[in-house]
Amino acid sequence: MTTIGSTATTVPSGIDGENIVAPTPTPAPKNRRRRRQGRLTPYALLVPSLVILAVIVGWPLIQLFIMSFQEYGRAQVFGAPAPFVGFDNYAEILADQKFWNVLIRSLLFCLVAVTLTMGFGTLIALLMTHLSKFFRLLVSVGLLLAWAMPALTATIVWGWMFDTGHGVVNYAFTHWLGLDYAGHSWLIDPLSFFLVLTIIVVWGAVPFVALTVYAGLTQVPDEVIEAAQLDGANGFKRFTLIVFPYLRSIFLVVFILQVIWDLRVFTQVFALQGIGGIREHTSTLGVYIYQTSLANGEYGTGGAVAVITVIILMAISFYYVRQTIKEEV
Protein backbone atom coordinates (compact mmCIF):
# COMPACT_ATOMS: atom_id res chain seq x y z
CA MET A 1 0.00 0.00 0.00
CA THR A 2 1.38 3.34 -0.88
CA THR A 3 0.47 6.54 0.77
CA ILE A 4 0.76 9.78 -1.03
CA GLY A 5 1.18 12.40 1.63
CA SER A 6 -0.74 15.45 0.61
CA THR A 7 1.61 18.36 0.85
CA ALA A 8 0.92 21.75 2.32
CA THR A 9 -2.10 22.92 0.41
CA THR A 10 -4.60 20.60 -1.09
CA VAL A 11 -7.25 23.16 -1.74
CA PRO A 12 -10.58 21.67 -2.62
CA SER A 13 -11.80 23.66 -5.53
CA GLY A 14 -15.40 24.20 -6.56
CA ILE A 15 -16.90 21.20 -4.91
CA ASP A 16 -20.33 19.67 -4.94
CA GLY A 17 -22.28 22.46 -6.49
CA GLU A 18 -22.10 24.33 -3.21
CA ASN A 19 -21.26 27.71 -4.57
CA ILE A 20 -20.55 29.31 -1.23
CA VAL A 21 -17.07 27.87 -1.42
CA ALA A 22 -14.15 30.22 -1.49
CA PRO A 23 -10.97 28.17 -1.76
CA THR A 24 -8.79 29.07 1.18
CA PRO A 25 -5.34 27.65 1.77
CA THR A 26 -5.48 24.86 4.30
CA PRO A 27 -3.38 25.70 7.32
CA ALA A 28 -0.18 23.72 7.42
CA PRO A 29 -0.76 21.44 10.43
CA LYS A 30 -4.03 20.19 9.02
CA ASN A 31 -2.73 18.25 6.07
CA ARG A 32 -3.25 14.89 7.65
CA ARG A 33 -5.68 13.73 5.06
CA ARG A 34 -4.28 11.90 2.21
CA ARG A 35 -5.28 10.39 -1.02
CA ARG A 36 -5.39 6.68 -0.73
CA GLN A 37 -5.78 3.82 -3.05
CA GLY A 38 -8.79 2.44 -1.21
CA ARG A 39 -11.05 5.15 -2.53
CA LEU A 40 -14.23 3.56 -1.37
CA THR A 41 -13.20 3.33 2.28
CA PRO A 42 -14.53 6.76 3.34
CA TYR A 43 -17.86 6.07 1.70
CA ALA A 44 -18.11 2.72 3.42
CA LEU A 45 -17.40 4.42 6.75
CA LEU A 46 -20.13 6.96 6.08
CA VAL A 47 -22.81 4.48 5.08
CA PRO A 48 -24.45 3.92 8.49
CA SER A 49 -24.63 7.62 9.31
CA LEU A 50 -25.78 8.57 5.85
CA VAL A 51 -28.51 5.95 5.73
CA ILE A 52 -29.92 6.90 9.13
CA LEU A 53 -29.80 10.63 8.44
CA ALA A 54 -31.31 10.26 4.98
CA VAL A 55 -34.15 8.08 6.19
CA ILE A 56 -34.95 9.74 9.52
CA VAL A 57 -34.19 13.36 8.68
CA GLY A 58 -34.07 13.66 4.90
CA TRP A 59 -37.19 11.76 3.99
CA PRO A 60 -39.49 13.37 6.58
CA LEU A 61 -38.13 16.75 5.56
CA ILE A 62 -39.17 16.13 1.96
CA GLN A 63 -42.53 14.84 3.18
CA LEU A 64 -43.00 17.91 5.30
CA PHE A 65 -42.25 20.13 2.33
CA ILE A 66 -44.73 18.30 0.13
CA MET A 67 -47.36 18.24 2.86
CA SER A 68 -47.15 21.99 3.23
CA PHE A 69 -48.52 22.30 -0.30
CA GLN A 70 -51.34 19.83 0.28
CA GLU A 71 -54.68 19.88 1.93
CA TYR A 72 -53.77 17.46 4.66
CA GLY A 73 -56.18 16.99 7.55
CA ARG A 74 -57.55 14.17 9.63
CA ALA A 75 -59.27 12.59 6.61
CA GLN A 76 -55.96 12.29 4.79
CA VAL A 77 -54.41 10.53 7.76
CA PHE A 78 -57.02 7.85 7.34
CA GLY A 79 -56.27 7.36 3.69
CA ALA A 80 -58.18 10.01 1.75
CA PRO A 81 -56.18 11.44 -1.15
CA ALA A 82 -54.37 14.68 -0.38
CA PRO A 83 -54.99 17.23 -3.13
CA PHE A 84 -52.32 19.79 -3.93
CA VAL A 85 -53.45 23.28 -3.12
CA GLY A 86 -50.40 25.27 -4.16
CA PHE A 87 -49.57 28.04 -1.77
CA ASP A 88 -53.00 28.01 -0.09
CA ASN A 89 -51.62 26.85 3.27
CA TYR A 90 -49.00 29.55 3.22
CA ALA A 91 -51.50 32.21 2.20
CA GLU A 92 -53.83 31.10 4.96
CA ILE A 93 -51.09 31.34 7.59
CA LEU A 94 -49.70 34.64 6.43
CA ALA A 95 -53.19 36.12 6.55
CA ASP A 96 -53.77 34.74 10.04
CA GLN A 97 -53.17 37.23 12.82
CA LYS A 98 -52.64 34.34 15.23
CA PHE A 99 -49.56 33.20 13.33
CA TRP A 100 -48.08 36.69 13.33
CA ASN A 101 -48.67 36.97 17.06
CA VAL A 102 -46.88 33.68 17.60
CA LEU A 103 -44.02 34.65 15.30
CA ILE A 104 -43.50 38.07 16.89
CA ARG A 105 -43.79 36.57 20.36
CA SER A 106 -41.17 33.94 19.51
CA LEU A 107 -38.78 36.46 17.99
CA LEU A 108 -39.13 38.84 20.94
CA PHE A 109 -38.64 36.03 23.43
CA CYS A 110 -35.61 34.83 21.49
CA LEU A 111 -34.13 38.33 21.42
CA VAL A 112 -34.58 38.88 25.15
CA ALA A 113 -33.46 35.40 26.18
CA VAL A 114 -30.38 35.38 23.94
CA THR A 115 -29.33 38.87 25.04
CA LEU A 116 -29.66 37.98 28.72
CA THR A 117 -27.97 34.60 28.31
CA MET A 118 -25.01 35.97 26.36
CA GLY A 119 -24.68 38.93 28.71
CA PHE A 120 -24.80 36.99 31.96
CA GLY A 121 -22.76 34.14 30.53
CA THR A 122 -19.95 36.40 29.39
CA LEU A 123 -19.96 38.38 32.65
CA ILE A 124 -19.77 35.20 34.70
CA ALA A 125 -16.95 33.89 32.51
CA LEU A 126 -15.00 37.11 32.99
CA LEU A 127 -15.71 36.99 36.71
CA MET A 128 -14.37 33.45 36.88
CA THR A 129 -11.00 34.54 35.51
CA HIS A 130 -10.65 36.93 38.46
CA LEU A 131 -11.66 34.55 41.22
CA SER A 132 -9.49 32.58 43.58
CA LYS A 133 -9.40 28.85 43.03
CA PHE A 134 -11.98 28.06 45.69
CA PHE A 135 -14.61 30.51 44.46
CA ARG A 136 -14.00 29.54 40.86
CA LEU A 137 -14.67 25.93 41.74
CA LEU A 138 -17.80 26.99 43.63
CA VAL A 139 -19.15 28.84 40.61
CA SER A 140 -18.28 25.96 38.25
CA VAL A 141 -20.05 23.41 40.41
CA GLY A 142 -23.13 25.61 40.61
CA LEU A 143 -23.16 26.17 36.87
CA LEU A 144 -22.70 22.47 36.15
CA LEU A 145 -25.61 21.56 38.40
CA ALA A 146 -27.90 24.04 36.66
CA TRP A 147 -26.67 22.90 33.26
CA ALA A 148 -27.30 19.27 34.12
CA MET A 149 -30.93 19.78 35.07
CA PRO A 150 -33.15 18.35 32.33
CA ALA A 151 -35.30 21.07 30.74
CA LEU A 152 -38.52 19.35 31.73
CA THR A 153 -37.63 18.84 35.39
CA ALA A 154 -36.24 22.37 35.56
CA THR A 155 -39.54 23.75 34.27
CA ILE A 156 -41.59 21.71 36.70
CA VAL A 157 -39.37 22.72 39.62
CA TRP A 158 -39.51 26.41 38.71
CA GLY A 159 -43.26 26.03 38.27
CA TRP A 160 -43.40 24.70 41.81
CA MET A 161 -41.27 27.55 43.12
CA PHE A 162 -43.61 30.05 41.44
CA ASP A 163 -46.69 28.11 42.59
CA THR A 164 -49.68 30.28 43.46
CA GLY A 165 -50.56 28.74 46.78
CA HIS A 166 -47.39 27.33 48.29
CA GLY A 167 -44.53 28.53 46.09
CA VAL A 168 -41.38 29.77 47.75
CA VAL A 169 -41.28 32.91 45.59
CA ASN A 170 -44.66 34.18 46.75
CA TYR A 171 -43.70 33.25 50.31
CA ALA A 172 -40.45 35.17 50.16
CA PHE A 173 -42.07 38.22 48.56
CA THR A 174 -44.82 38.26 51.15
CA HIS A 175 -42.94 37.42 54.32
CA TRP A 176 -39.52 38.93 53.64
CA LEU A 177 -40.22 41.91 51.45
CA GLY A 178 -43.63 42.70 52.92
CA LEU A 179 -45.32 42.70 49.51
CA ASP A 180 -48.77 41.27 49.06
CA TYR A 181 -47.98 38.27 46.89
CA ALA A 182 -49.98 35.69 48.82
CA GLY A 183 -51.97 33.71 46.28
CA HIS A 184 -50.47 35.64 43.35
CA SER A 185 -50.66 33.73 40.09
CA TRP A 186 -47.54 34.16 37.99
CA LEU A 187 -48.66 32.22 34.95
CA ILE A 188 -52.10 33.61 34.14
CA ASP A 189 -50.87 36.95 32.86
CA PRO A 190 -48.99 36.37 29.56
CA LEU A 191 -46.27 38.91 30.31
CA SER A 192 -45.61 37.43 33.70
CA PHE A 193 -45.73 33.95 32.13
CA PHE A 194 -42.95 35.02 29.82
CA LEU A 195 -41.01 36.48 32.72
CA VAL A 196 -41.02 33.06 34.40
CA LEU A 197 -40.27 31.33 31.09
CA THR A 198 -37.33 33.64 30.45
CA ILE A 199 -35.95 32.94 33.92
CA ILE A 200 -36.20 29.19 33.33
CA VAL A 201 -34.61 29.28 29.88
CA VAL A 202 -31.85 31.75 30.78
CA TRP A 203 -31.08 29.89 34.01
CA GLY A 204 -30.65 26.70 32.03
CA ALA A 205 -28.61 28.24 29.20
CA VAL A 206 -26.21 30.55 31.04
CA PRO A 207 -23.95 27.72 32.28
CA PHE A 208 -23.20 26.58 28.73
CA VAL A 209 -22.29 30.09 27.62
CA ALA A 210 -20.32 30.91 30.78
CA LEU A 211 -18.24 27.72 30.83
CA THR A 212 -17.59 27.78 27.08
CA VAL A 213 -16.53 31.42 27.07
CA TYR A 214 -14.45 30.82 30.19
CA ALA A 215 -12.70 27.90 28.51
CA GLY A 216 -12.02 30.23 25.59
CA LEU A 217 -10.73 32.99 27.86
CA THR A 218 -8.15 30.67 29.35
CA GLN A 219 -6.74 30.21 25.85
CA VAL A 220 -6.06 33.89 25.29
CA PRO A 221 -2.29 34.27 25.74
CA ASP A 222 -1.36 36.24 28.85
CA GLU A 223 1.39 38.15 27.08
CA VAL A 224 -1.12 39.80 24.80
CA ILE A 225 -3.25 41.00 27.70
CA GLU A 226 -0.21 42.17 29.63
CA ALA A 227 1.05 44.09 26.63
CA ALA A 228 -2.31 45.80 26.35
CA GLN A 229 -2.24 46.54 30.07
CA LEU A 230 1.18 48.13 29.70
CA ASP A 231 -0.13 50.19 26.82
CA GLY A 232 -2.73 51.52 29.20
CA ALA A 233 -5.86 49.80 27.93
CA ASN A 234 -8.57 49.64 30.58
CA GLY A 235 -10.63 46.55 31.29
CA PHE A 236 -13.39 47.38 28.83
CA LYS A 237 -10.96 48.17 26.04
CA ARG A 238 -8.95 45.04 26.76
CA PHE A 239 -12.12 43.02 26.36
CA THR A 240 -13.46 44.64 23.20
CA LEU A 241 -10.13 45.10 21.42
CA ILE A 242 -8.07 42.11 22.51
CA VAL A 243 -10.13 39.35 24.09
CA PHE A 244 -13.21 39.56 21.91
CA PRO A 245 -11.38 39.20 18.58
CA TYR A 246 -9.59 36.16 19.99
CA LEU A 247 -12.89 34.59 20.99
CA ARG A 248 -14.85 35.71 17.94
CA SER A 249 -15.39 32.21 16.61
CA ILE A 250 -16.47 30.92 20.02
CA PHE A 251 -18.91 33.78 20.49
CA LEU A 252 -20.29 33.14 17.04
CA VAL A 253 -20.90 29.42 17.68
CA VAL A 254 -22.44 30.04 21.08
CA PHE A 255 -24.58 32.91 19.83
CA ILE A 256 -25.98 31.00 16.87
CA LEU A 257 -26.71 27.96 19.01
CA GLN A 258 -28.54 30.13 21.54
CA VAL A 259 -30.63 31.78 18.84
CA ILE A 260 -31.56 28.41 17.38
CA TRP A 261 -32.38 26.87 20.76
CA ASP A 262 -34.41 29.82 21.99
CA LEU A 263 -36.32 30.25 18.76
CA ARG A 264 -37.37 26.62 18.68
CA VAL A 265 -37.90 26.28 22.42
CA PHE A 266 -40.62 23.72 23.05
CA THR A 267 -40.35 21.70 26.23
CA GLN A 268 -40.22 24.63 28.65
CA VAL A 269 -43.17 26.46 27.07
CA PHE A 270 -45.25 23.31 26.74
CA ALA A 271 -44.59 22.12 30.29
CA LEU A 272 -45.14 25.55 31.78
CA GLN A 273 -48.47 25.81 29.96
CA GLY A 274 -49.35 22.49 31.57
CA ILE A 275 -48.76 24.01 34.99
CA GLY A 276 -50.72 27.18 34.26
CA GLY A 277 -51.06 29.83 31.62
CA ILE A 278 -53.29 30.48 28.66
CA ARG A 279 -52.20 28.64 25.56
CA GLU A 280 -53.32 31.13 22.89
CA HIS A 281 -51.48 33.98 24.55
CA THR A 282 -48.25 32.19 25.32
CA SER A 283 -47.51 29.77 22.48
CA THR A 284 -44.24 30.04 20.61
CA LEU A 285 -43.44 28.60 17.16
CA GLY A 286 -42.62 25.11 18.41
CA VAL A 287 -45.79 24.77 20.46
CA TYR A 288 -47.85 26.39 17.69
CA ILE A 289 -46.66 23.78 15.17
CA TYR A 290 -47.48 21.04 17.65
CA GLN A 291 -50.91 22.51 18.34
CA THR A 292 -51.85 23.08 14.71
CA SER A 293 -50.62 19.70 13.52
CA LEU A 294 -51.27 17.24 16.27
CA ALA A 295 -53.96 18.80 18.43
CA ASN A 296 -56.06 20.33 15.63
CA GLY A 297 -55.14 17.83 12.93
CA GLU A 298 -54.32 20.50 10.34
CA TYR A 299 -51.16 18.83 9.09
CA GLY A 300 -50.91 20.86 5.90
CA THR A 301 -51.06 24.18 7.72
CA GLY A 302 -48.78 22.93 10.49
CA GLY A 303 -46.35 21.76 7.82
CA ALA A 304 -46.33 25.22 6.25
CA VAL A 305 -45.55 26.82 9.62
CA ALA A 306 -42.78 24.27 10.11
CA VAL A 307 -41.28 25.05 6.71
CA ILE A 308 -41.37 28.77 7.50
CA THR A 309 -39.62 28.07 10.83
CA VAL A 310 -36.93 26.03 9.12
CA ILE A 311 -36.39 28.82 6.59
CA ILE A 312 -36.05 31.41 9.37
CA LEU A 313 -33.54 29.23 11.22
CA MET A 314 -31.59 28.62 8.03
CA ALA A 315 -31.48 32.33 7.28
CA ILE A 316 -30.19 33.06 10.78
CA SER A 317 -27.54 30.39 10.67
CA PHE A 318 -26.54 30.98 7.05
CA TYR A 319 -23.67 33.28 7.97
CA TYR A 320 -22.35 30.83 10.55
CA VAL A 321 -22.56 27.87 8.20
CA ARG A 322 -20.77 29.81 5.49
CA GLN A 323 -18.03 30.92 7.87
CA THR A 324 -17.55 27.40 9.18
CA ILE A 325 -17.42 25.85 5.76
CA LYS A 326 -14.93 28.46 4.63
CA GLU A 327 -12.67 27.93 7.60
CA GLU A 328 -13.00 24.25 8.14
CA VAL A 329 -13.19 22.27 5.02
Partner: protein
Amino acid sequence: MSATTATPARAISRKRVVSAPKRVLSTVLSTAAVGIFILSVFPVYWMVQTSFQPTSDIIASRVQFWPENFTLRNYNTVLFDTTRSEFLPALGNSLMVTIIVVIAALIFAFMASLAVTRFRFKSRRGFILAILIVQMIPGEAMIVATYRLLDGWSLLNTIAGLSIVYIATVLPFTIWTLRGFVDGVPVDLEEAGMIDGLSRAGAFWKITFPLLAPGLVATGVFAFIQAWNEFLLALVVNSRPEMMTLPVWLRTFQIANGTTNWGGIMAGSTLMAIPVIIFFLIVQGRMSSGLVSGAVKG
Protein backbone atom coordinates in the same frame (compact mmCIF):
# COMPACT_ATOMS: atom_id res chain seq x y z
CA MET B 1 -7.97 36.58 51.43
CA SER B 2 -5.50 37.44 48.75
CA ALA B 3 -6.37 38.78 45.36
CA THR B 4 -5.27 35.77 43.46
CA THR B 5 -5.53 35.99 39.73
CA ALA B 6 -6.26 33.35 37.20
CA THR B 7 -2.80 32.88 35.86
CA PRO B 8 0.53 32.47 37.56
CA ALA B 9 2.11 34.82 35.04
CA ARG B 10 0.00 37.69 36.24
CA ALA B 11 0.24 36.68 39.87
CA ILE B 12 4.00 37.02 39.77
CA SER B 13 3.81 40.59 38.59
CA ARG B 14 1.82 41.46 41.68
CA LYS B 15 3.05 41.90 45.19
CA ARG B 16 1.94 39.71 48.05
CA VAL B 17 0.81 42.70 50.06
CA VAL B 18 -2.64 43.57 48.81
CA SER B 19 -3.82 47.13 48.77
CA ALA B 20 -7.15 48.11 50.31
CA PRO B 21 -9.10 48.76 47.06
CA LYS B 22 -7.88 45.42 45.74
CA ARG B 23 -9.19 43.72 48.83
CA VAL B 24 -12.58 45.40 48.47
CA LEU B 25 -12.75 44.34 44.82
CA SER B 26 -11.83 40.80 45.73
CA THR B 27 -14.57 40.70 48.38
CA VAL B 28 -17.12 42.04 45.90
CA LEU B 29 -16.13 39.43 43.32
CA SER B 30 -16.25 36.62 45.85
CA THR B 31 -19.69 37.74 46.99
CA ALA B 32 -20.86 37.77 43.38
CA ALA B 33 -19.48 34.25 43.03
CA VAL B 34 -21.45 33.07 46.05
CA GLY B 35 -24.56 34.78 44.65
CA ILE B 36 -24.17 33.00 41.32
CA PHE B 37 -23.66 29.71 43.10
CA ILE B 38 -26.86 30.14 45.13
CA LEU B 39 -28.93 31.21 42.11
CA SER B 40 -27.67 28.23 40.12
CA VAL B 41 -28.14 25.64 42.80
CA PHE B 42 -31.30 26.83 44.55
CA PRO B 43 -33.87 25.19 42.21
CA VAL B 44 -31.98 21.91 42.41
CA TYR B 45 -31.87 22.18 46.18
CA TRP B 46 -35.53 23.12 46.34
CA MET B 47 -36.50 20.10 44.25
CA VAL B 48 -34.60 17.71 46.51
CA GLN B 49 -35.67 19.22 49.81
CA THR B 50 -39.37 19.34 48.80
CA SER B 51 -39.20 15.69 47.83
CA PHE B 52 -38.32 14.78 51.44
CA GLN B 53 -41.24 16.63 53.00
CA PRO B 54 -44.62 15.16 53.88
CA THR B 55 -47.52 16.71 51.96
CA SER B 56 -48.95 18.28 55.11
CA ASP B 57 -45.75 20.32 55.49
CA ILE B 58 -45.54 21.18 51.81
CA ILE B 59 -48.97 22.80 51.77
CA ALA B 60 -48.60 24.37 55.22
CA SER B 61 -48.74 28.16 55.33
CA ARG B 62 -45.16 28.32 56.65
CA VAL B 63 -42.61 27.33 54.02
CA GLN B 64 -39.85 25.08 55.32
CA PHE B 65 -36.39 25.64 53.92
CA TRP B 66 -35.19 22.36 55.30
CA PRO B 67 -37.30 19.16 55.65
CA GLU B 68 -38.12 19.24 59.34
CA ASN B 69 -40.16 16.05 59.24
CA PHE B 70 -37.93 14.07 56.92
CA THR B 71 -39.82 11.37 55.02
CA LEU B 72 -39.26 8.95 52.16
CA ARG B 73 -42.97 8.51 51.56
CA ASN B 74 -42.92 10.49 48.32
CA TYR B 75 -40.27 8.19 46.88
CA ASN B 76 -42.23 5.22 48.03
CA THR B 77 -45.31 6.48 46.20
CA VAL B 78 -43.41 7.20 43.00
CA LEU B 79 -41.45 3.97 42.94
CA PHE B 80 -43.83 1.37 44.26
CA ASP B 81 -47.41 2.65 44.24
CA THR B 82 -48.19 1.07 40.89
CA THR B 83 -51.76 2.31 40.81
CA ARG B 84 -50.60 5.91 40.75
CA SER B 85 -47.35 5.84 38.86
CA GLU B 86 -45.64 3.70 36.27
CA PHE B 87 -42.19 4.89 37.18
CA LEU B 88 -40.27 1.61 36.97
CA PRO B 89 -41.46 0.59 33.49
CA ALA B 90 -40.70 4.10 32.27
CA LEU B 91 -37.25 3.87 33.80
CA GLY B 92 -36.71 0.57 31.98
CA ASN B 93 -37.77 2.08 28.66
CA SER B 94 -35.58 5.12 29.14
CA LEU B 95 -32.57 2.98 30.04
CA MET B 96 -32.99 0.72 27.03
CA VAL B 97 -33.44 3.56 24.56
CA THR B 98 -30.53 5.49 26.04
CA ILE B 99 -28.11 2.57 25.97
CA ILE B 100 -28.96 1.72 22.37
CA VAL B 101 -28.61 5.34 21.30
CA VAL B 102 -25.27 5.89 23.03
CA ILE B 103 -23.66 2.75 21.62
CA ALA B 104 -24.98 3.13 18.09
CA ALA B 105 -24.29 6.86 17.91
CA LEU B 106 -20.70 6.41 19.10
CA ILE B 107 -19.93 3.65 16.63
CA PHE B 108 -21.50 5.41 13.66
CA ALA B 109 -20.01 8.76 14.59
CA PHE B 110 -16.55 7.22 15.04
CA MET B 111 -16.72 5.73 11.57
CA ALA B 112 -18.02 8.92 10.00
CA SER B 113 -15.49 11.13 11.74
CA LEU B 114 -12.68 8.85 10.53
CA ALA B 115 -13.98 9.24 7.00
CA VAL B 116 -14.11 13.01 7.30
CA THR B 117 -10.75 13.54 8.98
CA ARG B 118 -8.55 10.81 7.58
CA PHE B 119 -9.68 10.79 3.99
CA ARG B 120 -10.12 13.36 1.32
CA PHE B 121 -12.96 12.40 -0.97
CA LYS B 122 -15.28 14.04 -3.36
CA SER B 123 -18.41 14.81 -1.37
CA ARG B 124 -16.60 15.43 1.90
CA ARG B 125 -17.48 19.10 1.99
CA GLY B 126 -21.07 18.32 1.07
CA PHE B 127 -21.31 15.86 3.94
CA ILE B 128 -19.98 18.34 6.49
CA LEU B 129 -22.36 20.97 5.17
CA ALA B 130 -25.25 18.53 5.49
CA ILE B 131 -24.24 17.72 9.08
CA LEU B 132 -24.22 21.41 9.94
CA ILE B 133 -27.57 22.08 8.33
CA VAL B 134 -29.29 19.07 9.85
CA GLN B 135 -28.49 20.47 13.28
CA MET B 136 -30.52 23.57 12.47
CA ILE B 137 -33.73 21.72 11.64
CA PRO B 138 -36.14 21.81 14.56
CA GLY B 139 -37.52 18.44 15.57
CA GLU B 140 -40.92 19.97 16.31
CA ALA B 141 -41.22 20.91 12.66
CA MET B 142 -40.73 17.33 11.53
CA ILE B 143 -42.75 15.63 14.19
CA VAL B 144 -45.73 14.76 11.98
CA ALA B 145 -43.59 13.45 9.16
CA THR B 146 -41.53 11.41 11.61
CA TYR B 147 -44.70 10.03 13.15
CA ARG B 148 -45.99 8.91 9.76
CA LEU B 149 -42.64 7.36 8.88
CA LEU B 150 -42.58 5.26 12.04
CA ASP B 151 -46.24 4.44 11.65
CA GLY B 152 -45.57 3.12 8.16
CA TRP B 153 -43.00 0.71 9.55
CA SER B 154 -45.16 -0.26 12.53
CA LEU B 155 -42.50 1.19 14.80
CA LEU B 156 -44.79 3.40 16.88
CA ASN B 157 -44.68 2.56 20.57
CA THR B 158 -41.51 0.53 20.22
CA ILE B 159 -38.07 0.93 21.72
CA ALA B 160 -36.49 0.43 18.30
CA GLY B 161 -38.48 3.21 16.64
CA LEU B 162 -37.71 5.80 19.27
CA SER B 163 -34.05 4.76 19.37
CA ILE B 164 -33.57 5.13 15.61
CA VAL B 165 -34.98 8.64 15.62
CA TYR B 166 -32.82 9.62 18.59
CA ILE B 167 -29.72 8.23 16.90
CA ALA B 168 -30.44 10.43 13.91
CA THR B 169 -30.97 13.40 16.22
CA VAL B 170 -27.66 13.06 18.04
CA LEU B 171 -25.51 11.90 15.10
CA PRO B 172 -24.75 15.31 13.59
CA PHE B 173 -23.45 16.72 16.86
CA THR B 174 -21.54 13.56 17.78
CA ILE B 175 -19.85 13.42 14.39
CA TRP B 176 -19.06 17.12 14.61
CA THR B 177 -17.47 16.78 18.05
CA LEU B 178 -15.66 13.48 17.52
CA ARG B 179 -14.16 14.86 14.33
CA GLY B 180 -12.26 17.38 16.42
CA PHE B 181 -10.95 14.66 18.72
CA VAL B 182 -9.90 12.36 15.84
CA ASP B 183 -8.10 15.31 14.34
CA GLY B 184 -6.11 15.53 17.57
CA VAL B 185 -4.75 12.00 17.27
CA PRO B 186 -1.58 12.16 15.14
CA VAL B 187 -1.90 10.18 11.97
CA ASP B 188 1.74 9.13 12.41
CA LEU B 189 0.67 6.78 15.20
CA GLU B 190 -1.63 4.93 12.82
CA GLU B 191 1.11 4.78 10.23
CA ALA B 192 3.58 3.44 12.76
CA GLY B 193 1.07 0.74 13.62
CA MET B 194 0.63 -0.11 9.98
CA ILE B 195 4.37 -0.41 9.49
CA ASP B 196 4.32 -2.85 12.39
CA GLY B 197 1.88 -4.95 10.44
CA LEU B 198 -1.56 -3.71 11.36
CA SER B 199 -4.16 -3.28 8.67
CA ARG B 200 -5.70 0.15 8.14
CA ALA B 201 -8.83 -0.94 9.99
CA GLY B 202 -6.70 -2.51 12.70
CA ALA B 203 -4.80 0.73 13.14
CA PHE B 204 -8.06 2.65 13.54
CA TRP B 205 -9.44 0.16 15.99
CA LYS B 206 -6.36 -0.63 18.07
CA ILE B 207 -4.61 2.74 18.06
CA THR B 208 -6.98 5.62 17.31
CA PHE B 209 -10.06 4.33 19.11
CA PRO B 210 -8.45 3.93 22.57
CA LEU B 211 -6.77 7.33 22.26
CA LEU B 212 -10.18 8.86 21.69
CA ALA B 213 -11.43 7.91 25.14
CA PRO B 214 -11.99 11.49 26.35
CA GLY B 215 -13.81 12.39 23.16
CA LEU B 216 -15.91 9.25 23.30
CA VAL B 217 -16.87 9.93 26.89
CA ALA B 218 -17.83 13.52 26.12
CA THR B 219 -19.90 12.69 23.06
CA GLY B 220 -21.34 9.60 24.74
CA VAL B 221 -22.56 11.69 27.64
CA PHE B 222 -24.07 14.14 25.20
CA ALA B 223 -25.98 11.35 23.48
CA PHE B 224 -27.01 9.98 26.86
CA ILE B 225 -28.42 13.29 28.03
CA GLN B 226 -30.27 13.89 24.78
CA ALA B 227 -31.90 10.49 24.78
CA TRP B 228 -32.65 10.62 28.50
CA ASN B 229 -34.22 14.09 28.43
CA GLU B 230 -36.00 14.18 25.10
CA PHE B 231 -39.64 14.93 25.60
CA LEU B 232 -41.71 15.92 22.57
CA LEU B 233 -40.92 13.02 20.29
CA ALA B 234 -41.37 10.47 23.04
CA LEU B 235 -44.68 12.11 23.89
CA VAL B 236 -45.97 11.76 20.34
CA VAL B 237 -44.37 8.53 19.21
CA ASN B 238 -44.46 6.40 22.37
CA SER B 239 -47.75 7.50 23.84
CA ARG B 240 -48.93 4.16 25.19
CA PRO B 241 -48.55 4.10 28.99
CA GLU B 242 -46.36 1.00 29.04
CA MET B 243 -44.03 2.47 26.40
CA MET B 244 -43.52 5.87 28.02
CA THR B 245 -40.05 7.14 28.76
CA LEU B 246 -39.23 9.02 31.97
CA PRO B 247 -39.91 12.58 30.76
CA VAL B 248 -43.32 11.62 29.40
CA TRP B 249 -44.07 9.74 32.60
CA LEU B 250 -43.03 12.75 34.69
CA ARG B 251 -45.30 15.10 32.81
CA THR B 252 -48.22 12.66 32.90
CA PHE B 253 -47.68 12.24 36.62
CA GLN B 254 -47.47 15.99 37.11
CA ILE B 255 -50.69 16.65 35.15
CA ALA B 256 -52.53 13.85 36.95
CA ASN B 257 -51.47 15.01 40.39
CA GLY B 258 -51.87 18.69 39.64
CA THR B 259 -51.16 20.72 42.69
CA THR B 260 -52.09 17.98 45.11
CA ASN B 261 -48.86 16.05 45.28
CA TRP B 262 -45.89 18.33 44.76
CA GLY B 263 -43.82 16.05 46.99
CA GLY B 264 -44.32 13.13 44.64
CA ILE B 265 -43.69 15.28 41.58
CA MET B 266 -40.44 16.54 43.10
CA ALA B 267 -39.40 13.00 44.03
CA GLY B 268 -39.99 11.93 40.42
CA SER B 269 -38.08 14.96 39.13
CA THR B 270 -35.17 14.16 41.43
CA LEU B 271 -35.07 10.55 40.31
CA MET B 272 -35.04 11.63 36.69
CA ALA B 273 -32.42 14.35 37.13
CA ILE B 274 -29.93 12.41 39.29
CA PRO B 275 -28.38 10.23 36.55
CA VAL B 276 -27.92 13.25 34.30
CA ILE B 277 -26.32 15.28 37.07
CA ILE B 278 -23.94 12.45 37.96
CA PHE B 279 -22.87 11.96 34.35
CA PHE B 280 -22.45 15.66 33.93
CA LEU B 281 -20.19 15.97 36.91
CA ILE B 282 -18.11 13.08 35.57
CA VAL B 283 -17.27 14.80 32.32
CA GLN B 284 -17.28 18.28 33.84
CA GLY B 285 -16.00 20.89 31.48
CA ARG B 286 -14.79 18.47 28.88
CA MET B 287 -17.65 19.09 26.55
CA SER B 288 -17.27 22.81 26.51
CA SER B 289 -13.51 22.62 26.20
CA GLY B 290 -14.00 20.24 23.29
CA LEU B 291 -16.27 22.76 21.68
CA VAL B 292 -13.77 25.52 22.31
CA SER B 293 -10.86 23.65 20.82
CA GLY B 294 -13.06 22.77 17.88
CA ALA B 295 -13.99 26.40 17.38
CA VAL B 296 -10.45 27.64 17.78
CA LYS B 297 -8.80 24.99 15.69
CA GLY B 298 -11.39 25.30 12.98
